[in-house]
Symmetry: C2
Subunit: 215 residues, 2 copies
Amino acid sequence: MIKSSPKFRRESAAQRKETLILATLALIAQDGVRGATVRAIANRAEVSQGLIRHHFSSKEDLITAAYAHHMSHMTNLTTAPALTTGISAKARLEAFVATGLVPPVVDPGMVSLWASFLNKLRVDAKMREIHEQTYHDFRDRLEALIADALCEAGIATEPRALRRLAIACNAVIDGLWIEGGALPGAFEPGELPEIGLKSVGAIIGLELEYVGGWT
Amino acid sequence: MIKSSPKFRRESAAQRKETLILATLALIAQDGVRGATVRAIANRAEVSQGLIRHHFSSKEDLITAAYAHHMSHMTNLTTAPALTTGISAKARLEAFVATGLVPPVVDPGMVSLWASFLNKLRVDAKMREIHEQTYHDFRDRLEALIADALCEAGIATEPRALRRLAIACNAVIDGLWIEGGALPGAFEPGELPEIGLKSVGAIIGLELEYVGGWT
DNA sequence: TTCCTAATTATACGGTTGCATAATTACGGA
DNA sequence: TCCGTAATTATGCAACCGTATAATTAGGAA
């Protein structure tokens, strides 16, 4: 008897879950939440639709997992360059701001994805929890960078004031990131990071500069 | 023959359209785009579902109209106080910034609504057009206020630099507005406008202050 | 009053959705 | 080698979606 090629491959739960999550994110980024149907996701991940319910208790569960995955991914993408050792605190802050304002972080798909999730915050408590945690995580990293940069410059700052600086800087970055993604082509290349650096610098009282190399 | 009470009332096209638009916005704010089905909208507006297709060529058409309505509403809400005559340019700018960062502009429903529409920008060209126009309209008003305030303070600014200041200030306001709406309770009352004024002030190089009276 | 017309309702249809259930099948351990 | 079991597929269903069409009805014009 000739052994025919297997009709499917078994994979670990973790791998399958990630595959499904990535397919979900790709679909939402492309067509909005509306496009992420169970059948479309299964099709994109090249599995049957029944498999989704085998790994996730409901479609809502998958969406939530995709949200968490995406948010931590974006945070890591932005944070990574700021972890470089051997450079000044000011340089790390500059890298952090600039990285968050150029592709691939600034991207229509990313913004669309983020917006799709944002309007679920009202309804879903689990989503709200994830958002809150991600937001604070991101802001805390930013606050630490600001604190280091200010300390390095010999500027003392109270915790309360520091928190507000971080909130404000986070807001500029977010705002620029959104418009950059929502209106691609409305800004010249390199304009967004330049504006971001100048603004963040003005807010915290340091002169931050645009360093080339960010494509 | 006893005349029974009429089963429905005829109204002008404009009135009906607005009723339907408001019902749509209320539903989207409450349950997200997913909740704004034709039947739900008709139910909320207390009309039959067929009426929607009588006034709008499609559901998509209604959604688009609702988006335009909502955006101009928000812009007007924020802009109104800045039109006050007889006060300094700086005071008008302060009013503009502060108004946009307190209720009813800062509100979970408003943010949810805005986010719901945002993720349609990728797909729908008409939506993108409305977004672009609204964004530029808002930013232009902000830019004019900044120009006046700087001029009043005797600070000369090039058009190119002015544009970037407006982009940056717009971003701070947007970012703060979003988080204020997405995470109600995460900020103390009055904290958002205070941070917003300080940040905008730092960016453009003026000292803006929080004036009480904004509840 | 009578009639005409546009606003409104009533009803139905094809397609899609998320989910449940049962039948297959890969693949590691005995 | 064989077998158990969990991963995967196949199939079906009830509910809901947007839309089309025809039947009502309000309310002004003549």
